[in-house]
Amino acid sequence: MKVTLENIDLKYGDTYAVKGVNAEIEDGHSLVLLGKSGCGKTSTMRCIAGLETPVRGRITIGDQVVFDSEKNINIPSHKRNVGMVFQSYAVWPHRTIFENVAFPLQMKNLGKKEITDRVDEALHLVGLDGFQKRGASLLSGGQMQRVALARSLVMRPSVLLLDEPLSNLDARLRDRLRIELRALQQKLNLTCVYVTHDQGEALALADRIALMQNGKLAQVGSPGDIYENPASASIADFLGVTNIFPVLKNGHPGTYKMAEHRLELTTVDYTLDGDAIKACIRPEDVIVSGQRPDADSNNWAGEVSVASYQGSNVRYLIELDGGPAIEALVSRRDGPPAGKGNRVWVTASPSDIQILPAEVA
Amino acid sequence: MKNILKTTTSVLAAAALAVTAGACSAPKTVTLVSKAESLSTTSDLVIDGQTVADSDLFAKAKAEGSISLYSGYVENSEKEVIKAFTQDTGIKVNLVRLVPNRLLERVLSEQGAKKLGADVIRTSEFSSVSAMNKAGAFTPHKVPNFDQLDDTVKNDGGKFYRVFDPAFTFAYNTALVSEADAPKSWQDLLDPKWKGKIGTTQVGAGGSSASLVRFQFDALGEDYLKGYAAQQPRIFDSSGAQQESLSRGEIQVATAVVSSVNIAANNNAPVKFVVPTEGFALYDYFLGMTPTAQHPAAAQLFMNWNLSKRGSSVFSQIGEYPADSAAPAPKVMDIQLPAMNTGLPHRGTPEDLARRGKEDQAIWNRIFGYIG
């Protein structure tokens, strides 16, 4: 069901944990709240669940207003029909898997037969057929995750909330579950809200991403949007852009000058001015070559200080002559890797250099 | 760990059993209070030839069936009294026993909250009983022999009565001190041979102590107490604890209440009290009936019984001086205590105690170097 947040303010003591958040999640879509720890993303999610009470604002799930500070509406959590998978999974260790998953149905006073059928169906959906009788304390992390998911799915929630659902799993399992989760969400046409601090996870799971900083929404958009056009250097930084340099306009149209070095950058975009602007270059957009390339701009010599082989890629850290260190991610196919101490040339296309404000205004 | 516990307890139990196998018989005791000589309960209640209640009161009292007694009297002694009363009348007594000043506190509090739960109250010390009376805890009741009782017995028109007086003297441990060596007078206690072997209760230990100290100041003088203090006596907080210490032989001679010695001896303790040549102290116990008594007839009956000949006899058998001057002085442990008119029993008057109490306490504490 469609979920709407309007002007949500949440306070802990005197400080705002969430300030003026507006968001809309279409029915069957997924929204990822992305941000660093303490940015207010989990608090926002807990407001939807009713585990936190905002001081201001309105929350609507489907046609039902579940919270409205002005009209004094605050539907308690257990009547919101909101599913939630906790970061810790919160699978009850003293109960069997069946008891865990059947719980929401028992709360709805459903018949025994229906409960059994629906639990079986939910467990099948998450790939845990035949686990009904097991004690929950004996499960692996991935299995717990699935139980927690089944327990929320079985109640057919209006919206499913997932708090850092993959963060406690090892890397390979995480990759697999990421895809499974996305497939499941699309198959069941579930409205989902995720919370994560991992940009890769966010990009993979989201229909829309809401990027949060200091309790506020910094940028909302599709994964492509956000990735291609971050609204600020700090967002770019958060999304994995490692080459971020403070720059100044230097008089020549089309070029910026590095604030702390004498190197110049040629860019396509030439509108921003001021002392809080930064140039951002993704490591994968940095081209490394053994000879001086033909390009007439953004053409710098340097020396490899670190070369880290990563299988399909090599990651370099290159000290530019008279400039900063720059990181480059080079595909294995682009020739044999250079070693530490090698002299190299580094270029970047003007269209790959984004000039961004340091922070969202 | 449970096993260790079990083993330890069972080993201990087994050892104890082995030592004492078969030794479960009761030690020899004698009956403290004998039955009434004659008792008629058919219409009027007549005990030992004296009418304690007419048929009307007795019938009502029997219908009520029980009374609630708040008492500051020594628990074991009060239980003997109750046993005799119930034997005579068939009326049960629910006892709430507290040390006198806690009893005062409780009575004043309950009376203040209009929730006094007692039908009758027994306590020592004139100041306490007066405070209760002032708070309205008593209602007048004239016992059948009201007119025969003298004015030191009946107070405020029958609101409360002095019922008996325990005798506070000294006693010795018969296992450690032979009859021949035993002290005969208070002065004997100053003999150097008793140094470090005697005891006394501290002056603030209750009305009994205050009365004894008053007597000692009066009859023996301040110098006597200084001499007593120089004997390095062990000072006790309660006469009960002192009595036990004497029975066990931790000390050989100590101040003691006759009735307590009587009860201890009855429980095989090797103790005997002395009637000193200089006399000894008496202190008062009072009894009154409450205006809110739930069992008024039974309460009246209890009052009558306490002040009757039978009551006097019961107290006297325990070792107390009955308040009724017509009753004979007690004879316990084959020792006849001197009659009131011999001048040996010194009963401090309430006025005297009230006037001198505070000063006595201060002087006593100073003499004995006691923290009080």
Partner: protein
């Protein structure tokens, strides 16, 4: 129940007694129904503080508490080290020895020691006299008082230090060992510094406990004319007429000392909670102490003999003796010298049976209701964001700093003044014990509630259950061990308490502890001894029963 209602409850349970003590310390009349107010304000009562008596009592209290806690820490710490960290034989036995005296109320221990080492006729004196050494012992002295207190408070040091020593991460010591530290060096540079907070914490705790201890001071100290603050308060209250206002003034002083000490303890214990690494499958290293094993074992057995065996034997003898007077030990083995008669008499007597019933009833009610209140309180503090929850916590922990005998006094006045008919009933004892042991209950419950992830409960709520249902379905079952341990702890504490009940009981609401004390006070030593023995058995039975219900006897953290 909203927070303000809880605050009101705590106000009646704890704040009002404290306030009444304060008021009467500054007033010329003691609180009674119809006569409570701020009229007659005076500083007169505090004059007593400058008296020779109070200065002596305060000095004695400080000396006794300091020495007793040092000795108790030495005993408890040594046993804890032996049991937790060495290769001594029979560790389970050492552990048992370490905690066993907990089950013997200090009141009973004091009674037993006055039987054992009373001047002239103590059993030990009879023994030494029998072999021609004369009377060697007199427990009614300052060293005697310190010794008896240390015996019965050593288990507190044992528990705290043992806990810290077993939970210590062995990596820390192994690291020292890898870097070339010798055994002695490791002990002095790693092990002991790591348990220092526990040692200090237990030291302060024992100081506070022995400082406010009434029964031992009254039974051992008073006969030797050694006055301490608690006995001084008791005597002021029991003098005729009662000097309640002055007692309150002395109580204020005792409380101030204890609050200062408790404040230190809280800080130390807090620190301990953060530094001790909680153990998950860690096995602490066992040190080879070689020949010292024999010495260690002898030490432990010696302690056991002094704290448990001798006292129990003494109580047994005293309750079997047919005459209270014994001149030599051989007399005890004469015909008819010992008889179970008195023990059976006691067992059948209405006084004992009523007191046993009262004690068990009070202890069970205190354990159950106290645990429930403590749970609710911990829940509010740790699971809600209610404003004012920190002040709730503060009030709940307050009785820790207030001596039980003082709380008893305050509670007496409170329930005399309040228009509820509970004074003189068993209910007032239950209320009093719940109030004085709220800090212990609260600590146990909050430690336990903190171990259960809040998400577990929230998830049940999101899955459609009410909050209450979620608590009973998820939180409480997961806290089972902690809850049961808290219940057992409260049960034990309530079973043993004397001081707080002193001013609250009446002859028909006596507890076992009161009967023992009353018997002693009235000079009925034989019944005191036999009641004590049966008292210990009742406690053991309760512990075994509670353990059958799944409680752990030993997470016992007492005052």
């Amino acid at each position: 129940m909203p927070t303000w209602l809880m605050l009101a409850l705590l106000a009646i349970l704890i704040l009002m007694p404290v306030a009444l003590i304060l008021i009467s310390a500054f007033s010329s009349s003691t609180p009674r129904p119809g006569s409570i107010g701020l009229s007659g304000l005076t500083l007169e009562n505090f004059k007593i503080l400058s008296s020779h008596q109070s200065v002596t009592a305060l000095t004695n209290s400080l000396v006794v508490a300091t020495s007793a806690s040092v000795l108790a820490m030495f005993i408890g710490g040594t046993l804890a080290f032996l049991a937790a960290r060495t290769n001594i034989w029979g560790k389970a036995v050492i552990y048992f020895i370490g905690i066993a005296p907990m089950f013997l109320p200090s009141l009973v221990g004091a009674l037993a020691w006055s039987l054992l080492a009373g001047p002239a006729t103590g059993y030990l004196n009879l023994l030494t006299r029998g072999i021609g050494l004369g009377n060697l012992f007199n427990v009614y002295t300052m060293p005697g008082l310190i010794f008896v207190l240390a015996l019965y408070y050593a288990p507190y040091a044992f528990l705290l230090i043992h806990g810290a020593m077993t939970l210590m991460n062995p990596d820390l010591e192994e690291a020292a060992s890898v870097h070339g530290g010798s055994l002695g060096k490791i002990l002095s540079t790693v092990t002991f510094p790591l348990v220092t907070p526990a040692i200090l914490g237990s030291g302060v705790l024992i100081f506070a406990l022995t400082m406010e201890n009434f029964p031992v001071a009254q039974m051992i100290g008073t006969p030797g004319q050694i006055e301490t603050l608690p006995t001084f308060i008791y005597r002021l209250m029991n003098s005729a007429p009662a000097r309640g206002n002055e007692a309150a003034a002395v109580a204020v002083v005792l409380t101030v000392v204890l609050i200062a000490v408790t404040a230190i303890q809280q800080r130390v214990v807090m620190k301990r909670n953060f530094t001790t690494v909680s153990g998950k499958g860690m096995k602490p290293r066992m040190m080879d102490i070689g020949k010292l094993r024999g010495v260690g074992l002898a030490f432990a057995l010696g302690y056991f003999a002094l704290a448990i065996v001798l006292p129990v034997v003494a109580l047994l003898l005293a309750s079997l003796q047919s005459s209270p007077y014994v001149s030599n030990l051989s007399q005890l083995f004469g015909e008819d010298a010992l008889s179970f008669w008195s023990l059976f008499q006691t067992l059948q007597s209405a006084t004992f049976l009523d007191a046993a019933r009262n004690s068990v009833m009070v202890a069970v009610c205190v354990a159950v209701l106290g645990a429930a209140l403590a749970f609710y309180l911990s829940y509010i503090v740790y699971r809600t964001k209610t404003p004012g929850r920190k002040s709730l916590e503060f009030v709940a922990m307050l009785p820790l700093a207030i001596p039980a005998i003082v709380m008893g006094l305050g509670l007496l006045w409170t329930w005399l003044v309040l228009p509820l008919p509970v004074y003189g009933t068993i209910v007032v004892l239950i209320i009093a014990f719940i109030a004085i042991y709220l800090p212990q209950g609260y600590r146990g419950m909050s430690a336990s509630i903190l171990q259960v992830d809040k998400d577990l409960e929230d998830s049940a709520v999101l899955l459609g259950s009410t909050r209450a249902r979620a608590v009973s379905y998820v939180t409480l079952p997961l806290m089972k061990t902690g809850v049961m341990s808290t219940v057992l702890l409260l049960l034990m504490l309530a079973m043993r308490e004397l001081s707080a009940a002193l001013f609250l009981f009446t002859s028909n609401t006596r507890l076992l502890a009161i009967v023992v004390f009353d018997n002693y006070d009235n000079g009925a030593l034989r019944s005191a001894a036999s009641t004590s023995l049966l008292y210990i058995l009742v406690i053991l039975a309760l512990v075994v029963l509670a353990k059958a219900f799944g409680a752990r006897a030993t997470n016992g953290e007492a005052r």
